[in-house]
Amino acid sequence: MTVTLFVPCFVDALFPQVGINMVRILEKLGHRVECPEEIACCGQPAFNSGYWDEARCVAEPTLKRLKNAEAVVIASGSCGAMLKVFYPQLFENKPEAAAAHELSHKVWEFSDFLVKKLGVTDLGAKFPAKVTFHDGCHGLRELGIKSSPRKLLEKVEGLELVEMQDAETCCGFGGTFSAKFPMISTAMGEVKCTSAKQTGADYIVSNDSSCLMHVQGLLSREGSPLKTIHLAEILGGNQQS
């Protein structure tokens, strides 16, 4: 099938390896990948801040560009939720409402796409390390993704997955929240890091780079040896550093 990979703005600029690994994995599985260059953002920052008109300005071209896609895979659970759950709300009673609903049905978060749509769990990856998985809230609660990433990790050779306490508790990123309420965001992140450290893991893995950016920012600042890595980087066997 032809998979349309939507690489959101921050993954494009800050975490290109995540997208590159996704392309490689999907191609290895025999699919054609296309990546629309003319869209970069789902409009979530404006939407979450309450600027729905501005969000629609960003979302409209995205909606249009993805109209004819067979399946849309998004490189972030959070942006996935934006397209799948919030576009229908954003365009409620607007001419684009039907298009938003239609798109919603073919949008997938990456790990869920592999497991639920393609029925793949074993990608032949190797990653000899102890890891713990952080559930990004949008993926977990808006999209209901809990088991897919774990099924994929289970099949990675040499990888040991240890669940942390309160794995489902928010890391504190929350988009613009992290800048508008940095003290709360930081405290939440510290609680998350403490839970992760207690597992003795070498890596925090997630299917959302935005959470990892925040958590890694905290860990680097305190000089912790604990590292973060995106699921796709483990599965694609092609790590950033």
Partner: protein, 240 residues
């Protein structure tokens, strides 16, 4: 009474204002629960939702044996002192034993079949709540002995009312509340309990109906359980 009349008149016009605002607000329809941001339609119910809910709630057991077992387990959990007796004589013996062990000097109780038996078995001085009583005197009693309407297996609770259990305070003011009941009074769950109350009183309800689950408790200090916060420190249920 003049003040009351004024208040009442003012509040009658407020009644119409509030209801008016409500009616106006309700001209818009709200989405049903569980439909927000979801694609599938939300679960719906054939009748009133609570009637479908029975199997989803914690259960109280099918047979009388299962129900007793549930009540027993719940009592242990709640720190209710639950005593099962073979017959009436055994029940009264248990009661006397407790009275002796705790050195009761005076009890508070009400007139009813089972409490009358209890009072005469004990033979202690007693305060009867029937025609009114002195609050300080009741506070000084060692135990309040009452009947109850039903016992609920699901939760280890019992229901007392202001009519069947000697008023509002008797089951909560003395430091030890003792309930005397018969096995037939045990019902499966809260649904059955409320249905029983509705059947029994048939619209003519007592002014207070209280579902009592364990002795008085609090966790307000560091979430540590302490019994006897304001109500009874002990709850004993004697059943035969």
């Amino acid at each position: 009474m003049v003040a009351q009349k004024q208040i009442w008149e003012m509040s009658m016009t407020e009644r119409e204002k509030i209801l008016g605002r409500i009616r106006e607000a309700l001209t818009l329809t709200a989405p049903h629960p569980g439909t927000h941001g979801r694609h599938e339609p939300a679960q719906t119910f054939p009748g009133r939702p609570v009637q479908s809910a029975k199997p989803w709630l914690p259960d109280g057991g099918e047979t009388p044996e299962e129900q007793i077992a549930h009540f027993r387990a719940a009592s242990t959990d709640l720190k209710t002192d639950f005593r099962e007796a073979a017959d009436e004589a055994a029940a009264m013996a248990i009661l006397k034993e407790i009275a002796q062990a705790e050195g009761w000097k005076k009890i508070a109780t009400h007139r009813s079949e089972l409490t009358d038996k209890a009072a005469s078995a004990l033979g202690l001085p007693k305060l009867l709540t029937g025609g009114g009583y002195d609050k300080n005197e009741m506070e000084a009693c060692d135990a309040g002995i009452t009947e109850c309407d039903v016992l609920i297996a699901q939760t280890g609770s019992l229901i007392v009312t202001s009519r069947s259990s000697g008023g509002r305070a008797l089951s909560v003011l003395p430091p030890h509340h003792v309930v005397i009941a018969r096995r037939e009074q045990l019902v499966r769950d809260l649904t059955a309990g409320f249905a029983f109350i509705q059947r029994k009183y048939d619209g003519n309800y007592p002014s207070m109906i209280s579902l009592v689950t364990g002795p008085s408790r609090t966790g307000d200090i560091e979430r540590i359980l302490v019994l006897g916060a304001h109500g009874p420190k002990k709850l004993t249920v004697i059943l035969w």
